[in-house]
Symmetry: C2
Subunit: 198 residues, 2 copies
DNA sequence: ATGCGACTGGGACGATCGTCCCACTTCAGT
DNA sequence: ACTGAAGTGGGACGATCGTCCCAGTCGCAT
């Protein structure tokens, strides 16, 4: 094995861990499975990390920090706010369909964090990040459509996150594209009513 | 230990397993943890079940079959369909707040089932059951409000399930009642637009 | 070139997992 | 009362887990 400084090795291990969690679930993300995915030995793992928990914590933090695919990016066609929002949610849906395992991994990491009190803040931080990204997109969408949110945009973003979460979970189980599109339509409908023309 | 026929013991073990999963998560639902919760010995476990997987499968099936708290039960005040739907979702929210661990356990079981191909149908069956219950409630609500669903009621129910799932997940992480109520409001708003006066 | 700290490999530890085995006890049918 | 089946208890198995140890090797500063 090539000699790699511990800092880079940490990053490589986090990436490998994400792949393992995506493909086989967090329950199978053992230290051995992770180092095998990374092509390292067990010693390298515990040279870079004190414990498996430390890696999982860093995995969650990393994956949250890197989350940036906005749900409602600009450059979308759409005449009014409702159409714009629906297009945005559908864009997220495309992302979900393209890499279902990644979103499934996110859900599992959230639930994992939810199970221990000292890790709960990680899940909250994950959702705060989602909210921040959602709020930014919602603000941009309102700007584009010439509308103004009548509810605080952070609150609207929380609702948006709940809707996309529900869409994700339902689609991961049923794989029913039509239902997902109906959810996107209904969600955009509801969200658009939290704004008024400016 | 009192002598109990295997059939009753299976039921007792399933109940114990549900308690363990609710309180500590499915990862900690080991055979030993389950029999300890049930106050039995390990031998009793493998006398009643061939394997842990068999118990988990029966746990999911049992819990799905027993699911019956309708999201939109009758006896609700509410003038128009929108109010009726919102009251129904809020009633579900009350149920969630009263026993968060149970809904968290449901989510974990779903994700667990999602991770192996042979168990995937269990998750689908779980959602079919949800859909059936949701559809029944939606039909009743429309009846009460003198409305008619313009979209097939099963489709509406799928959207409803997605919304409640999102509400559940978001609230379990943030514990923000205001956001949950906003989600309920928005969801009812969107759903009510899938019907017309009769 | 050389010494020292950074890094690696492989094997081992104790804990815990699911499962199994076997001697034992209890109960129902005769 | 007797017997066979049903149910129980405790200990043990091999596998796998997270973690650790230590001898060895590499690369960089001197």
């Amino acid at each position: 094995m090539a000699r790699i400084p511990a800092s880079e090795r940490r990053a490589a291990l986090v990436q490998a861990a994400l792949r393992v969690v995506s493909q086989r679930g967090i329950a199978h993300a053992t230290t051995r499975a992770i180092v095998a995915e990374a092509g390292m030995s067990l010693a390298s793992f515990h040279y870079a990390f004190d414990s498996r928990d430390e890696l999982i914590d860093e995995l969650i933090a990393t994956v949250v920090a890197r989350e940036q695919q906005a749900v409602l990016p600009d450059g979308l066609e759409g005449h009014d706010l409702r159409d714009l929002l629906e297009a945005g949610v559908l864009r997220y849906f495309d992302h979900l369909r393209a890499d279902p395992e990644h979103e499934q991994a996110m859900l599992e990491l959230t639930q994992y964090a939810l199970r221990s009190p000292e890790r709960h803040p990680l899940a909250v931080a994950q959702y705060d990040k989602y909210t921040e990204l959602g709020a930014r997109s919602l603000a941009a969408a309102a700007e584009l459509a010439g509308a103004r949110w009548t509810t605080p945009v952070e609150q609207v973003a929380r609702v948006l996150i709940a809707f996309t979460d529900g869409l994700t979970l339902t689609w991961l189980v049923t794989r029913d594209d039509d239902v997902a599109r109906a959810v996107a339509h209904a969600a955009a409908d509801a969200l658009s009513r939290m704004a008024e023309p400016r």
